[in-house]
Symmetry: none
Subunit: 245 residues, 2 copies
DNA sequence: CCGTTTTGTTACCAACTGTTACGAAGGGGC
DNA sequence: GCCCCTTCGTAACAGTTGGTAACAAAACGG
């Protein structure tokens, strides 16, 4: 299983950002959303492992959203709510929520619940939970995560900077899944997600360019880190994992 | 199976457009219709995989239309209706509808039903569902969909832009079937379907022209991408598929 | 502190794609 | 054939997006 991707759905921007930052610090890809439409975009765009859903979403209703989502696919959902009354809790479970956390909550409690639900979801879908992947192999390349050591198909060692390494890991964890700049930025904890000259910087583009320069045969026409115009980037090869622990 | 082609039959223009847009966004070719005559035109013009049929069609009656159509061929039909009373539902099933959705409905529910019915239709007609065609061969050309790699009969590699690739795929999926600009636009998610100078742009024409420039021996008198005057374009050769998975 | 390395920003360019305008090519009626 | 109208092809243009060199700022390591 790749790095878990979580959607943080809350209409209070401050709460949202706080949760996103906290979850990112603990190794998750956390993507902020503020509406059902945003959730659907992410679901359509790629894998989502867990949704943290605020019950009160301005004019939308979290319980209803949950009900919609649940009737279609079984993404795990954890409700987050200021309404801790029991009947509210029940309304959450009845539409299929996997857990329910009352605000204000302890962030570590949140983390524990998130891990528990992800763990459950993994078991039920009989995916092996790889506690620590030690080595990734892709297209002849070998990346030893433990020693942080990347070797080319011909056996030459290639040095990556810290951010380049992080970027590579994100792609290795999500092979063949197109990642938006927003998602990459979230996983790397950099600011910029913009792709035009106005707006925020183009850190992701530049970073991808630099990584390409080190791992692509011909960086001008990349075989591995392909551009999905209007979307983002995708690692266009399969990745084999050796695991330890 | 090529991209599924759906007819969206509803006399409320707004509802129709909304459904069409939604279905297009999810990868279907969705064609709006507002009458039995329009349905028949499409059925006569080419393959139709599923009809979404409003029960109340102004002066026409959806149930009757369904009954007519069913007595002739077995296109799957899903009824869409504001009349959710049980007897109405039964009237729908009795004339052979494959499913029945009450308005107002959740769009994603619609999507789920559409996919279910298409899936069923595929199985029952014992068509192998090709999850991923890896290579197309046509008139000496080879297109490797996995690597997104197009090679000319003489073995030269030809670079296509994203939209050009998408256009080629649409034709490869529908060889020898004349496709209207409307259908192509739907499959490509571009706006323009108009062919005159007024109205919407001529994106499809220009795109076809560009693709011709890359794959035709003599773009001025095309052998592959022929124009069907007053209709659209057609790929005038057979296509062989190699499949993987 | 200072030099080095890493990382983000900016600017410029190239590629992609939709729009428009204009001319050419059909097609029907006479 | 000739005229007229519709349809189509395509060059030219413009708006957007992505690649990347060059610079600036920040982090790092003594």
């Amino acid at each position: 299983m790749a790095i878990p991707r979580l959607l943080v759905v809350d209409d209070d921007r401050e709460v949202r950002e706080m949760m996103v930052q906290f979850l990112q610090q603990h190794g998750f890809i956390a993507l902020p959303c503020d509406s059902e439409a945003a959730i659907r975009e992410h679901l359509a765009a790629g894998r989502v492992d867990l949704i943290l859903l605020d019950v009160m979403l301005g004019d939308e209703n979290g319980v209803e959203i949950c009900s919609h989502l649940r009737s279609e696919q079984d993404v795990p959902i954890i409700f987050v709510s200021a309404l801790s009354a029991d009947h509210q809790r029940m309304a959450g479970y009845e539409v299929g929520a996997d857990d329910y956390i009352a605000k204000p909550f302890n962030l570590d409690l949140l983390l524990a619940r998130v891990r528990a639900v992800l763990h459950r979801a993994r078991r039920s879908s009989s995916l092996v939970y790889r506690r620590s992947v030690s080595t990734y192999r892709f297209d002849g390349w070998t990346y030893d995560a433990k020693r942080d050591d990347l070797a080319s198909p011909k056996g030459f060692q290639v040095a990556l900077s810290r951010k380049e390494t992080a970027l590579l890991k994100v792609f290795l964890a999500n092979p063949r899944i197109p990642l938006t700049r927003e998602e990459i930025a979230a996983a790397l904890d950099v600011t910029g997600g913009g792709q035009t000259d106005e707006g925020s910087g183009r850190a992701i583009d530049v970073l991808v360019g630099r990584l390409r320069g080190k791992i692509e045969n011909n960086p001008k026409s990349p075989d591995l880190l392909k551009t999905e115009r209007g979307v983002g980037y995708v690692l266009a090869c399969d990745v084999a994992l050796d695991e330890a622990g």
